[in-house]
């Protein structure tokens, strides 16, 4: 890959354009605590990349650094071939650029984080109308299609607090889809759900994977990760300990830590 890039600079540009997300040598410390110790990963367009690992290994922090919800200490973040400009201290150099990039990354949180003072429909049209400048009528029409797709068309006028966690998370996925995201970031989307509600959310995500959405998915659902992911990354102690195709990572783990981890979660 490297050789190819040096030999044919033009092809390197194409290869970059094919990448939805590229993270290079990402470091992040909270005070003295070094949480990410040089993480590099790439998601090509249409890839589903699953990130697994023990609690506190830095999975969420890594995901949140991608759209700068956390400020990286150092490293490079490239979204759709565009590098997010960083100052020496890791803070974003251009608020405008960051806002533009963020408005194309659909993030789904563990705690849903729907806006509680807005109905599901209002939640879904909020960003298209107020950030992307889509007309209200057009956004609402699209939002209804999306809510229908996640099975919530009849709840469009309901406020989030009146719904189950599974319904809220499906609405949050509709909100993410409404921006027509170039990639989606999922941070343990089913971890806050009662067991009987996990399935309905996984069904929606499985559906998105099947239609070729680019996704970075932090999850504890190992069976699901193995089923939908094109590539699996195992985090331990702020580093990528092992990665590869799902059958290899789950079926033939090499690192001792990963073997232990898989035993502990199965």
């Amino acid at each position: 890959m490297m050789d190819l890039a040096t030999a044919h600079p033009a092809q390197s540009a194409i290869a970059t354009a094919d990448e939805a997300i590229r993270v290079e040598n990402l470091h992040k410390s909270f005070g003295h605590l070094e949480v990410l110790k040089g993480v590099s990963l790439t998601a090509r367009r249409g890839d589903v990349v699953a990130i697994i690992g023990g609690s506190g290994s830095g999975k969420s922090t890594c995901l949140r650094c991608i759209n700068f919800l956390e400020t990286p200490t150092s490293g490079r973040i490239v979204i759709g071939g565009e590098e997010i400009a960083m100052r020496a201290d890791g803070t974003p150099a251009s608020r405008k650029q960051l806002e533009r990039v963020r408005s194309r990354l659909g993030m789904v949180f563990q705690a849903f984080n729907l806006w509680t003072h807005r109905t599901l429909l209002e939640n879904v049209i909020e960003v298209p109308v107020h950030v992307l400048g889509v007309s209200k009528a057009e956004a609402a029409e699209r939002a209804m299609v999306l809510l229908d797709r996640v099975g919530l068309a009849d709840k469009a006028a309901t406020y989030p607090a009146f719904l189950s966690g599974g319904q809220q998370q499906r609405a949050a996925i509709a909100r993410a889809l409404a921006i027509d995201p170039s990639a989606m970031l999922f941070d343990e989307p089913t971890s806050a759900l009662d067991p009987e509600l996990v399935g309905e959310v996984l069904t929606v995500i499985r559906d998105l994977a099947a239609e070729g959405r680019t996704m970075l998915l932090v999850t504890h659902e190992m069976k699901f990760a193995r089923e939908v992911a094109d590539h699996v990354i195992y985090f331990a102690n702020g580093r990528i300990e092992e990665e590869g195709p799902p059958d290899q990572v789950f079926g033939a783990p090499r690192s001792e830590r990963l073997k232990q981890f898989l035993k502990s979660v199965s």
Partner: protein, 238 residues
Amino acid sequence: MIELLSLSPPGWGGNLLRGLLHSLEIAFGAFGFGLLIGLGGACGKLYGGPVLRDLLAVYTTVVRAVPELVLILILYYVGTDLLNKASEAMGYGRVEISGVAAGIWVLGIVQGAYATEVLRGAIKAVPSGQMEAARAYGMPPFLMLRRVTIPAMMPFAIPGLANLWLIATKDTALLAVVGFNELTQETRQAASSTRAYFTFFLAAGALYLMVTLLSGSVFARIEAWARRGQPSLRKAAT
């Protein structure tokens, strides 16, 4: 007694109502001005740099420490004096400052200090995920304030703000010390001219009570609207 309160002279009812109108005008202006200061102050305290935070801490501490009557005297005389000096320095001569504008300015500064604390507390009570989602989707800071932070903090702020509004309506009475014709001042004039103290102060008291009752129902509606996304606590308790 009825003649004394009749709206046209020789009755004093018209004067009382005019006084009430002035009081409400000032209370409304001061409350609004205080809200603006409070919103800026709360954001400054939460998101501002160290210098701004220190300045705001001095403002809220001093204003809340000094008795309101003293503050009103200070702000009124210092404010008008400074304004006149500035205007003379620029060659415009002395300016006539309207009582309403002065009242709004003076009470607004007092209200602003309390509103800063009410709104700061309310913003801090909003679950951080609400703002985080806004940031994650690329909302610029001002849009986020308008579309997420302010509406989300409203349920926490309304009770405190309702208190502030009632205090504003009653603090207008303190402006009598600088000769402003609000309700209390008008009442005193009517009472001393006619010697019917009981009648007039009872009437004024009734007017203040009506304002309070009406405000209560208005704020109850605003609060119900602000909490539209939250299941009712009463239902949850049963």
